[in-house]
């Protein structure tokens, strides 16, 4: 080794980082992973997969009754037909809001979530309070998100598993007749597809 010039200051590495490096080292060494492939995976989830995918599914369902039927029939296939496939999206179920029903999704066990259409879950979805309260007090959770639904609305909470992932199809906002798929997709928020929000009103789109 070369002589050390800087005897006082080495580089900083946290214990967590060291544990992750150890995993990467041993898995590379044993041929389980390709370090270059890791970067591709990370880039995909940071930049390519996110709630805009789900928003396209919802907008298409609002516009095209046959697509809406296909989504009810077999959501996994209907979603894959738009090119959204992959991990944690193998068995999708679409939950349509409307007719006095509001659907809301949680994973009480950990954080199962439909990645191909929504990306990775937001921080609050993974938190203990949400996981516990979504089932016990869905109206309270909705109130925290600023959503008040009529007394008579039937709120249904769906617990995701490793096998089944849900996508909520929010109600199409009034005043959007004649809107294009792209315009409609801009009204579909991530939260509206988890059921902790509603689709935006046309005024909010800033169009």
């Amino acid at each position: 080794m070369a002589h050390r010039h800087d005897t006082d200051h080495g580089s900083h590495m946290s214990a967590l980082e060291a544990r992750v490096r150890a995993l990467e080292t041993v898995l590379t060494e044993k041929g389980y992973i390709d370090p270059a492939a890791l970067d591709v995976i990370i880039d995909t989830y940071e930049t390519k997969i996110g709630p805009r995918n789900g928003a396209k599914v919802v907008a298409k369902a609002w516009l095209d009754p046959s697509y809406r039927d296909a989504l009810q029939e077999n959501a996994t296939e209907a979603i894959a037909s738009l090119g959204f496939t992959g991990r944690q999206g193998e068995h999708m179920v679409a939950l349509e809001n409307g007719d006095g029903v509001h659907n809301m999704v949680v994973c009480t066990l950990c954080s199962c979530y439909p990645w191909p259409v929504l990306g990775l879950p937001p921080v609050w979805y993974k938190s203990a309070p949400y996981r516990a309260r979504a089932v016990q007090d869905p109206r309270g959770v909705l109130a925290d998100f600023g959503i008040a639904l009529p007394e008579e609305t039937d709120i249904r909470v769906w617990d995701s598993t490793a096998e089944i992932r849900y996508l909520v199809i929010p109600e199409r906002p009034d005043g959007t007749e004649g809107w294009s798929e792209e315009q409609l997709a801009a009204l579909v928020t991530r939260d509206s597809m988890i059921g902790t929000g509603l689709a935006l009103a046309p005024e909010a789109a800033g169009a």
């Binding site: 150890a22 389980y32 890791l38 928003a55 490793a162 935006l200």
Partner: protein
């Protein structure tokens, strides 16, 4: 999309790395999606009181779940991983600031 949708997927590079490692092992068939969900759920449940509302502990549970499953599947023992972590910390300590930290396996 609303502002809230724009939040970052990973809070630190090590979180992204843990995520990518888990995906690769799932693809390689080292464990199944169900095994993963059960293990991660168990780790989260164990430490539940420390899982704050911000969810910052989340990827630490991922790391623990991954280390456990890898040991369980006989890929690398806990001792092996602990030793390698120590090697990485030592490598960092002897690397001048700003230089890439490297570890040569013995």
């Amino acid at each position: 999309m609303s502002q809230r949708d724009a939040e970052r997927v990973f809070a630190a590079p090590w979180e992204a790395k843990v995520f990518a490692l888990q995906q690769s092992l799932l693809d390689a068939g080292v464990f199944s999606a169900t095994e993963w969900a059960e293990r991660l759920g168990a780790e989260i449940a164990k430490d539940d009181c420390r899982d704050d509302a911000e969810g910052t502990a989340y990827f630490r549970y991922w790391l623990k779940a991954l280390e456990c499953l890898i040991a369980e599947k006989g890929v690398a023992s806990a001792d092996n991983l602990t030793g390698l972590s120590a090697d990485w910390l030592a490598a960092a300590a002897r690397t001048p600031h700003g230089k890439p930290i490297e570890l040569t396996l013995k």
